[in-house]
């Protein structure tokens, strides 16, 4: 039972190994192997079969021939033997020799076992006489004798029931072997010819079968690269043709889906852009409102309170002074709020000034040093880019305060050929980027969205205990950015 199971498992392993090998070769090799293997198998089988049948038949024929020749010789040797006519006997042997192909030797032995006549000329081969003994057989007896000249069928026929001796004849097997070798050689040559033909056919087959597959592979690669326009040429109306058609259909469907998705993504983007720009505009409006209207009102209130304080009596003076300090504080907070919402500097002086102010205020408030390096070549960036970079840096700094517990922060903003990059690094505790969740995660997503809306990208690298670095790159003068700029201006105007 276990042995059987072992054997099964073993067979299974062999099968697996076989498939591992066969499966690894290309279709070309498989088809070639199949064609050549079949031809070889048929060729070899045919050769072996022909050889076997030929040997069997020809040897049987030779054996029969040896018997019939020996019987003929025995019948015709009776009179010369009985009449002691050795000359006639010798002539008879020579005549037998002349009349038979495959003849190798013949000799006559008298009833006392003495050789009367033979065809060997000078002398007689040692040991030949005893190899096929007349005596204990009915009429004839055939044996196969191995000689230096190859196998020989030796037949002994008793003459006159042994009263006049025995006729022996040896027919050589060499011609049989030659004929068989020749046929086998021809068969092998034919197999080789068919094999060559098979190679050509297999090549052709391979081309027919493998070419469409290779084309499909190439087309698949193109689709995976996003090129849905490529179509496969259906070679034939077979399975591969069907596959090609199905593939083409799939490409077409994918192209449609891709188009739909792009359309949807475009809409989403537009929506997002709208949301962001609306938010930005709202903030700007509120900031301006706070600055222009609320601050003015508060300032007027302050002026009023100061005048009241100057003109008032003592008991109220303290109260007014308190109110004034509340108003002053409120004014500061309104200022701060307005700046946070939308710093005027960003609109009026540009990104550099806005960032300098942001970092200055941030350092002052959180007591963490910031190393700010800005290289913008004295020109304003598109407004959308400036806003995005400002907000990304602002959000990052907020995160540093909330989560990083950093000792220092460095910010690099640099304009390069066709793009602007920003790198914000801190030496805080860091976090697992892929494990970020919740509000923090949403914040990071918002940053990335902003960058991507402008055709840029944002990368965060962080490890627990090794700080965090945020890398942003936004291309300049792309359609997205210009659009953004235009829109902003429109809204701004």
């Amino acid at each position: 039972m276990w042995k059987k199971l072992d054997k099964l498992v073993h067979n299974r392993l062999i099968l697996d190994r076989f498939w591992e090998i066969v499966g690894a070769v290309s279709i070309r090799t498989k088809i070639l192997g199949l064609a050549l293997g079949l031809v070889l198998l048929v060729g070899i089988g045919n050769t072996l079969q022909t050889r076997m049948v030929l040997i069997r038949n020809m040897e049987a024929q030779l054996r029969d021939q040896s018997v019939s020749v020996a019987r003929d010789l025995a019948a015709r040797a009776v009179d010369p033997i009985l009449l002691n006519d050795l000359l006639a006997l010798q002539d008879l042997l020579l005549e037998t020799k002349g009349n038979n192909t495959n003849f190798r030797y013949a000799f006559i032995v008298d009833q006392r076992g003495q050789i009367m006549a033979h065809t060997f000329g000078e002398g007689f081969p040692v040991g030949l006489l005893d190899l096929n003994h007349n005596g204990n057989f009915d009429h004839h007896h055939t044996v196969l004798i191995d000689t230096d000249e190859g196998p020989i069928f030796d037949t002994a026929v008793s003459i006159l029931d042994g009263k006049a001796g025995t006729a022996r004849i040896g027919l050589s097997n060499v011609s049989v072997q030659q004929a068989v070798s020749q046929v086998a050689l021809q068969s092998v040559l034919f197999t080789v010819l068919v094999l060559l033909f098979g190679v050509v056919v297999a090549m052709f087959l391979t081309r027919i079968l493998a070419q469409p597959i290779l084309e499909l592979v190439e087309a698949t690669r193109m689709v995976s690269r996003g090129d849905y326009t490529h179509r496969v040429h259906p070679w034939a109306n077979d399975e591969l043709g069907t596959l090609a058609q199905a593939f083409n259909q799939m490409s077409q469907d994918l192209a449609q889906i891709h188009e739909l998705r792009q359309e949807r993504e475009g809409l989403q983007r537009q929506l997002l852009e709208k949301v962001i720009s609306t938010q930005e505009e709202e903030r700007r409006r509120i900031a301006r409102e706070l600055h222009d209207s609320t601050s003015q009102s508060l300032t007027s209130l302050l002026v009023g309170l100061r005048m009241l304080e100057t003109n008032c009596k003592d008991p109220d003076q303290q109260q007014i002074s308190d109110l004034r300090s509340v108003a002053t504080q409120t004014l500061d907070e309104v200022h701060k709020l307005a700046t946070q919402l939308r710093p005027n500097a960003l609109d009026d002086l540009g990104l550099s000034a806005a960032l300098e102010r942001l970092t200055f205020e941030w350092q002052a408030r959180h007591k963490v040093p910031i190393d700010l390096a800005i290289t913008l070549k004295d020109s304003r960036l598109p407004e959308g880019v400036e806003t995005a970079l400002y907000r990304i840096i602002q959000e990052t700094l907020t995160n540093v305060v909330r989560h990083a517990h950093a000792h220092s922060v460095s910010i690099l903003v640099e304009r390069r050929d066709g793009s602007v990059i920003a790198v914000i690094e801190d030496d805080g505790k860091g976090f697992e980027v892929c494990n970020s969740q919740g509000e923090y995660h949403l914040g990071l997503l918002g940053m990335r969205e902003r960058a991507e809306l402008l055709g840029g990208h944002l990368t965060i690298e962080s490890n627990l205990g090794h700080g965090t670095s945020v890398f942003v790159e936004i291309p300049l003068f792309t359609e997205d950015n210009l659009d953004g700029q235009k829109e902003t201006h429109l809204i701004g105007g």
Partner: protein, 308 residues
């Protein structure tokens, strides 16, 4: 990977080819012989000299072996000495062997005896007795369909002689033709020798010859053995009786042995083996006759010789 895989696969496919090249031997080989290793044939000396018995080719050599085998076996058992059968194609060849002593005992034809006796002293040992007599005839036979009724009707036909000096097969028909005033060469269209009587009967039966003269003893023996033969041939003439073909010995044979042989032959009817041997050659017993019984034949032979 692919290349390294191809070689074992090729090997697997090619392996049967090599097996196919191994020659198959369906028959058992009994031994090995070097056909170029030729040695002179050794002829062992015979320790006991056999008694050499010649039988004239009255019937075919094969028929002789079959008929005389029991007789030779009998002689062997009686003499306690191997007996060897010697046959020659013609009567004259046999006579020569008897004359030179290469043959000890011989069953010869009548005319061969007459010639042998008169030329080198061939000695008469015994004669077989058949049908109670020691005589035989020459029979003139033709195919059964033949219209011939006598030798005269066979003119310009094909005639088969047995042996050149056979009395019944050559001398007597020659005598008949001479009586008609011809020589055989003029009389017959063609003649040929069959060298024994069996073959002469067969030649007529198969119509190779239009006629032949044969020994009556052989003819009767042949008819008895193969009754179909009687339907194929017809006897149209019977000669006067001739003294039967005798058993002779060489003049060089030891006299004691001659007497012993005579004794063995005469007493053959006494034992079962002996009777069996006699039966095999169609003889009742062996007896003696005088040499004068052959005088008629001497006359006939000399007549034929003279006319020729």
């Amino acid at each position: 990977m692919r290349k390294s895989l191809f070689i074992p696969l090729l090997f697997i496919f090619l392996t049967p080819l090599f097996f196919g090249c191994i020659p198959r031997q369906p028959y058992e080989v009994v031994g090995y012989v070097n056909l170029k290793d030729l040695q002179p044939i050794q002829v062992p000396k015979q320790e006991v000299l056999p008694l050499r018995v010649a039988v004239a080719s009255i019937v075919s050599p094969k028929g002789t072996v079959q008929s005389y085998e029991p007789l030779l076996d009998y002689l062997e058992s009686q003499l306690h000495r191997p007996v060897e059968l010697v046959q020659r194609r013609t009567y004259l060849e046999t006579n020569e062997l008897i004359a030179t002593g290469q043959v000890d005992l011989a069953f010869v034809c009548t005319s061969a005896y007459v010639v042998g006796h008169d030329s080198f002293g061939m000695e008469l040992l015994a004669v077989p007795q058949v049908n109670g007599e020691t005589i035989y005839y020459s029979l003139l036979i033709v195919p059964s369909e033949s219209s011939a009724r006598s030798m005269a009707d066979l003119q310009n036909k094909v005639f088969a002689f047995t042996d050149p000096i056979s009395l019944s097969g050559r001398m007597y028909p020659t005598y008949l033709v001479q009586q008609l005033g011809f020589s055989p060469d003029d009389f017959f269209a063609r003649t040929f020798f069959t060298y024994n009587h069996d073959e002469a009967i067969r030649a007529v039966a198969d119509k190779l010859a239009d006629g032949a003269a044969v020994d009556s003893l052989v003819y009767e023996f042949a008819i008895a053995r193969d009754p179909n033969l009687a339907k194929k041939v017809r006897v149209i003439h019977r000669s006067p009786p001739f003294a039967i073909p005798p058993v002779v010995v060489s003049p060089k044979l030891d006299k004691d042995l001659k007497r012993e042989l005579q004794k063995i032959l005469f007493s053959m009817g006494d034992t079962a083996e002996g009777r069996k041997a006699l039966e095999s050659i169609g003889v009742e017993e062996f007896t003696t006759i005088d040499d004068h019984a052959y005088d008629d034949i001497r006359t006939l032979l000399s007549d034929v010789e003279k006319t020729r």
